[in-house]
Symmetry: C2
Subunit: 123 residues, 2 copies
């Protein structure tokens, strides 16, 4: 199945190892061996992940014959950022509702506390 660009990017990101590889590459280019180090994974398994990331345009490999370093390519992530930005208003609304709810609960607790305090004094 031919995936659209956005689907290919989302699909490539749906794996914690691939996201960890991208995170590592934010510190600069790295060899496959360096990328494989933190993961208890075989080289073929890492190479498979790198191929998925490369196909999605999220990394690029150097052309050096001996050492083909991987570099982060962030352009496809901009697309993700643009896409998700349309939904910001909705999650901010949810947070506003949560905030309002928490304020009500806190206010109720305070009000109960005061009543409780008064009772204590009466008793």
């Amino acid at each position: 199945m031919q995936l659209d660009t956005l689907s290919t990017t989302f699909s490539a990101l749906a794996d914690p190892t691939r996201r960890a590889i991208l995170s590592k590459l934010t510190s600069g280019q790295a060899s496959v061996t360096e990328l494989a180090e933190p993961f208890e994974m075989s080289m073929p398994a890492i190479t498979k992940h790198l191929k998925v990331l490369e196909k999605a345009g999220l990394i690029e490999r150097g052309k050096e014959a001996q050492w083909r370093p991987c570099r982060l390519r962030a352009e496809p992530l901009r697309e993700i950022g643009d896409w998700v930005e349309h939904y910001r208003i909705f999650w901010e609304q949810s947070l506003d509702r949560l905030d309002a709810y928490l304020k009500t609960v806190t206010a109720k607790k305070k009000s109960k506390g005061k009543k409780h305090g008064r009772k204590k004094h009466i008793q």
Copy 2:
């Protein structure tokens, strides 16, 4: 395989139909029939997509017996937004580089144009 929350969300978003469903739900809640309308898809196929979205917490279904409307839940998208935000500096750098490159090209073209113009005057 048990996926982490972020992977489940990314995976659910890696499909144009599912993203279109979320987009439609930004206008308000909708029944499965209403959601199925724009797509040339069987009801079981749409239901399958809805189940993926529901499992990822991206939609919730009403409890009404006859009509179980779907509603958008944007909280998991906030996580995506937070995640992608860490990479903003990298795609903005890429855009800066592109911008710098375009400025150089435009400057070169202008300079060539001037030379060309001068030649014409000389000739």
